[in-house]
Assembly symmetry: C2
Homo-oligomer: 106 residues x 2
């Protein structure tokens, strides 16, 4: 399981999306994360590796435990992709944009 390591590929797997949501609020150990899934621990470990390699997650070692936490900057890259489409459905967004323009002028 190598090659093709980009955020979109990473996000494509349901388990990996679940991991991201799980770690969003607080950092968790590899084991703690794995405990939330039915798949074998090494399988989750592989998912963590993929998420880490594409920098959606970051590690922080603490003794023999490894904590994983989200990297918001990388999450933003996904948002950036859909941003051009946003105006196509979100009127509220346009309204806010308009307000923001006024706000900046002041």
């Amino acid at each position: 399981m190598n090659l093709r390591r980009d955020i979109f590929q990473a996000i494509a797997d349901p388990t990996r999306r679940a991991i991201l949501l799980l770690v969003a609020s607080q950092s968790m150990t590899a084991g703690g994360i794995a405990a939330n899934f039915d798949t074998a621990r090494p399988t989750v470990s592989k998912h963590l590796r993929i998420l880490t390699e594409c920098e959606l997650l970051e590690q922080k070692k603490n003794g023999r435990e490894i904590y994983y936490h989200l990297n918001p900057k990388k999450m933003k890259e996904i948002a950036d992709f859909i941003e051009p489409f946003r105006k196509m459905w979100d009127e509220r967004f346009n309204k806010l944009e308009a307000i923001m323009k006024k706000y900046k002028k002041k």
Copy 2:
């Protein structure tokens, strides 16, 4: 090439993301879309099928031509996934939210 047809899987492929961006501003025919890529036309056709099956694209037949156009509602589903993470990087978003609250109160 069957099974597992969801937006995230669809978005995972670079060619398919390019197609979405291409069709964003205007609807295009299958051939017109394929002309923008180096891959064989049937390959692009398959990508179009996948995007259509997961409802990111919609077809509109016109004679022997088939026009593809974006379905913003489905694009929003991707945005919905990252929405919970947005506050982690976008201060501007928070600022706008604050302003919006005031705005609504009036």
